[in-house]
């Protein structure tokens, strides 16, 4: 009923390409996150879906209706979608109940029905007692709840959320995340959620699209994004992956054997013998060991205390090798100490081939 489909959508501002040939199919009822560093085009993409911008190329469909095509966009006020703004965008001259009721008034929902829906929306976010308050009398978390209630009272089939937690304290974010998950479940609406915080995206979304320089690098469920990144950018961005160059030696059962700085290690992924490829490693793929074969020799370059674990930064001895990171829970070796690193797992990035 309310899928969102983008086909080869591009949007430029002057010479900057904000969104570049993006194709996405968000299915009905999905919780979809747009993740990326600032300036990657995720907010522009959301504004294209909302109708604040018209695409330069491509088309945008809500369910089966085309709402955006080159140079034209169906006005936002005619799209019947909900949106939660980063600034909350609560109207300062209206109280909480009036804020929530506004869209229903505009749509000429009869008074009795309107009051019922406002009360229900406020009950859902636990703000019945605040109905007569003005926005400036509320805390940040309460304002966020009002914004959400205002959006839900419209009973939209598509809800857009633009960095809704960016202005909240860390401890409030977790609580609000759970609220978002609950609302998504209870409303059954399609959610498109823009964030630069990967933990937020991973925790909430059914699928996450990682954006970079206006393009979608990869759209996949969170686990696949982390374990099987499609590009080097995704590998580095998600879970602080390390990317190192390897030469493929050959396949051994389910595993691929590659050469990393002169050592043979077994990893996941596809590749044929002789290829130069890139390998994605996460810190939990690595461990200190006393073995001497199939291991990487190096020394401790730096220690960063992180509470439960200490982050070891290791400089391998091989020439031109980049640093590795390991989270280490026991008492760490001293800076400068010689160590041996075992590679337990890794993923060959499918993107392009090295020269």
């Amino acid at each position: 009923m309310a899928s969102v489909t983008l086909e080869a959508v591009s949007k430029r501002f002057d010479s900057t390409r904000a969104v570049e040939k993006v194709s996405l199919a968000v299915v009905d009822g999905e919780f979809f996150a747009l993740l990326g560093p600032s300036g990657c085009g995720k907010t522009t993409l959301l504004r294209l879906v909302a109708g604040f911008e018209a695409p330069d190329e491509g088309s945008i469909k809500l369910a089966t209706e085309v709402v955006g095509r080159p140079g034209w966009a169906l006005a936002p006020e005619k799209r019947r979608i909900g949106m939660v703004f980063q600034s909350y965008a609560l109207w300062p001259h209206m109280n909480v109940a009036q804020n929530v009721a506004f869209a229903l008034r505009v749509r000429r929902v009869p008074s009795v029905e309107r009051q019922k829906r406002v009360a229900a929306a406020l009950a859902m976010v636990g703000l019945e007692a605040m109905a007569k308050r003005r926005p400036h009398e509320l805390s940040g978390g309460q304002r966020q709840r009002v914004a959400l209630a205002r959006c839900l009272a419209m009973q939209p089939t598509v809800v857009l959320l633009d960095e809704p937690l960016a202005n909240l304290d860390v401890h409030l974010r977790e609580a609000m995340q759970q609220e978002f998950a609950r609302f998504h479940r209870e409303s059954g609406a399609t959610f498109i959620y823009v964030t630069h915080d990967q933990a937020e995206a991973m925790a909430l979304a059914d699928r996450v699209a990682v954006m970079h320089e206006g393009r979608v690098e990869q759209a996949a469920p969170p686990r696949a994004l982390y374990r099987e990144p499609a590009t080097e950018m995704v590998a580095r961005f998600v879970g602080r992956g390390m990317v190192v160059p390897v030469d493929v030696i050959g396949r051994e059962g389910p595993r691929l054997i590659v050469d990393l700085w002169g050592e043979r290690i077994a990893v996941r992924g596809e590749g044929s013998a002789g290829e130069h490829r890139k390998l994605c490693l996460h810190s939990e793929d690595l461990a200190l060991t006393s073995r001497t074969t199939g291991t990487i020799h190096g020394h401790i370059a730096a220690l960063t205390f992180q509470g439960a674990a200490t982050l070891l930064t290791i400089q391998p001895n091989a020439e031109g090798a980049s640093q590795l990171r390991i989270e280490y829970t026991s008492a760490p070796p001293a800076v400068g100490a010689a160590v041996t690193v075992m590679v337990r797992d890794g993923w060959i990035i499918p993107e392009g081939r090295m020269p």
Partner: protein, 579 residues
């Protein structure tokens, strides 16, 4: 870690506007307003002035005026008096702004208000007040033995009189510009200089002044342009002193010969407008440089401590401000209370007869109060009603057509009022196309000119208020399904209403005392307050003129006080004289 909203980029003009019919309608409606009240009259004037002369010579009107000795004299006088007056404005404005902004003198709010008085008091009343102040029967100078002897011509009826009064009247413009310039100097630059070992005077000379210089010069340029277009002061001082300036020359021509010399006065107006345009261009360039110099400013400047020098500085500042802004008004008040010209004012001779005559008995004055009130009220309300949607389309919707309209809407206020008045006569003297009736000789023609002229005055505070409205408030209402008109009414108007109201108040105060435009457009029974003050003085009834002037100042100052109270809850920049 927030995405910069790319929609704020200027390039969002890429957007196609056909998607919102309501917005197109709104832009079209405002465009019609701006064209009827601003573009059409001014273009008409432009082409009228370029017409051939009576003998068919190309550009004959303009060449004829250019060759005329009277024009030459008026042109030279205008340039000379305006240049000298802006020099005086510059000296006073800088001294007052530096003393109030950069030092720790006490009572800054009161001092700022007094420094603002010359701007709040309309120029014909300032001129009147100075005539009383320096006249033979001056209640202040005569007891001190400083007044000219009775029978001598008032020394103000001369070039230097015009320079003095105009220089003081426009010193407030320099004061405001300099103060804004000084305030925008980043504090850390000053602190860095002091840590580097520089004495405060050295800091002011080497750091603060160079950074504020573009703003200072822009203020002087504005004073110059305003002097060129001033009518009230040359009319009250220059006409009796036989010192002709362009604005008074146009007035006297039209008064003497009527509409048949419209072509000639249009040519004169074009010369006047060209002078103003050069000044405004200069100012725009200076303002742009100033913005560049202090980009990315930090906190406001902290004033320097004067130490033992404080009482002396404060005393000098008070004396200066009281002499230029307060004493003339007191002289005016005294004149309004004196029984007859030349009778010394004492407690036992003071009388309210002049007020009774002017406010209760003379029909023309009563009419004028009513006319000015109605004109100012309608102008204020209509201008605010146009300014809100226009500011909304420009600021929040970034509509390219609205942006162009915004620039055009400033023109009727930027050109001298005399020019606009002639332009309005040219268009609205002939009968209107369908109605077959002429606005000339009715209040309608004054209203038309006011509607064009004062829109800019409502736009600025409304824009300042609109700038602070987060764009997402509008977008959220859009998402909620509200059309442009619904959003304007239910979301935008309530949020910017105080700023728009401040603009309306500003217009009311200005229009209520307006003279320059109405002096050329009034007719018997259709007088404005400014015209009545001018006429009473012209006819030699200066006590009555003083009474009407005092009464209208009381109204103006009461409104200014109201705006100040209202202004405390408004964003910075909405009420111009707020300390």
């Amino acid at each position: 870690m927030v995405d910069a909203h790319p929609a704020d980029a200027p390039a969002s003009s890429r957007r196609r506007w056909a998607s919102s019919g309501g917005e197109t309608f709104l832009v079209a409606a405002i465009a019609i307003y701006v064209v009827v009240f601003a573009v059409w009259p001014l273009l008409r004037l432009f082409f009228e002035a370029l017409l051939p002369g009576r003998d068919g010579e190309i550009l004959g009107l303009l060449i004829g005026e250019w060759r005329s000795a009277a024009t030459r004299t008026a042109l030279v006088n205008t340039l000379e008096a305006s240049a000298l007056a802006s020099l005086l404005s510059l000296v006073i404005g800088i001294a007052v702004a530096f003393a109030i902004t950069l030092t720790d003198v006490r009572g800054k709010a009161v001092l700022t208000f007094i420094a603002m008085l010359p701007l709040l008091v309309p120029s014909q009343i300032t001129a009147l007040a100075w005539i009383e102040f320096t006249g033979a029967f001056s209640p202040i100078l005569a007891p001190l033995g400083l007044a000219p002897k009775p029978g001598m011509t008032n020394p103000l009826y001369s070039k230097w009189g015009i320079v003095l009064v105009m220089g003081i009247e426009h010193s407030t413009l320099v004061f405001l510009a300099v103060r804004a310039g000084l305030r925008s100097v980043p504090r850390d630059l000053v602190e860095a200089a002091r840590l580097g070992g520089a004495h405060p005077l050295r800091v002011i000379w080497s750091v603060v002044t160079p950074l504020a210089l573009p703003a200072i010069l822009a203020g002087a340029a504005l004073a110059f342009v305003t002097s060129i277009g001033n009518f009230g002061i040359p009319a009250l001082l220059g006409i009796p002193g036989r010192y002709s300036m362009l604005t008074t020359l146009i007035y006297q021509r039209l008064q003497g010969f009527g509409p048949r010399v419209l072509g000639e006065v249009a040519a004169l107006s074009l010369i006047l407008a060209a002078l103003a345009a050069v000044g405004l261009l200069l100012r725009a360039l200076l303002v742009r440089r100033g913005r560049f110099a202090t980009e990315g400013s930090s906190a406001h400047l902290e004033p320097f401590g004067l130490g033992r020098g404080r009482p002396v500085t404060a005393a000098l500042l008070w004396i200066l401000l009281v002499v230029i802004a307060v004493l003339p008004l007191l002289a005016l008040l005294a004149a309004s209370l004196s029984p007859a010209l030349g009778v010394p004012l004492r407690l036992d001779t003071a009388t309210l007869d002049n007020y009774r005559f002017a406010l209760l008995e003379q029909d023309a004055t009563i009419r004028a109060f009513r006319n000015s009130f109605v004109l100012a009220l309608i102008t204020a309300i209509v201008s605010a009603a146009v300014a809100v949607p226009l500011a909304y389309l420009v600021t929040l919707r970034k509509n390219p057509f609205a942006r162009a309209l915004d620039v055009v809407a400033d023109t009727p206020y930027a050109v001298p009022g005399t020019v606009l008045a002639i332009a309005v006569i040219l268009v609205f003297l002939p009968p209107l196309p369908i109605l077959q009736l002429s606005l000339y000789g009715t209040l309608g023609i004054i209203l038309v000119a006011y509607l064009g002229r004062f829109l800019a005055l409502a736009l600025r505070p409304t824009m300042a208020g609109m700038d602070l409205v987060n764009k997402s408030l509008d977008e959220a209402a859009q998402i909620a399904g509200a059309s442009v008109l619904t959003r304007l009414w239910a979301v935008i108007l309530p949020v910017v209403a105080p700023s728009a109201a401040a603009g309306a108040l500003l217009i009311f105060m200005t229009a209520f005392n307006e003279l320059t435009v109405s002096a050329l457009l009034w007719s018997t029974g259709r007088e404005t307050l400014g015209v009545v003050v001018f006429t009473l003085q012209y006819e030699g009834n200066s006590p009555a003129a003083a009474a009407v002037a005092t009464a209208s100042i009381v109204v103006t100052l009461a409104l200014a006080g109201l705006a100040s109270v209202l202004g405390r809850r408004l964003p910075e920049g909405v009420v111009p004289w707020r300390a």
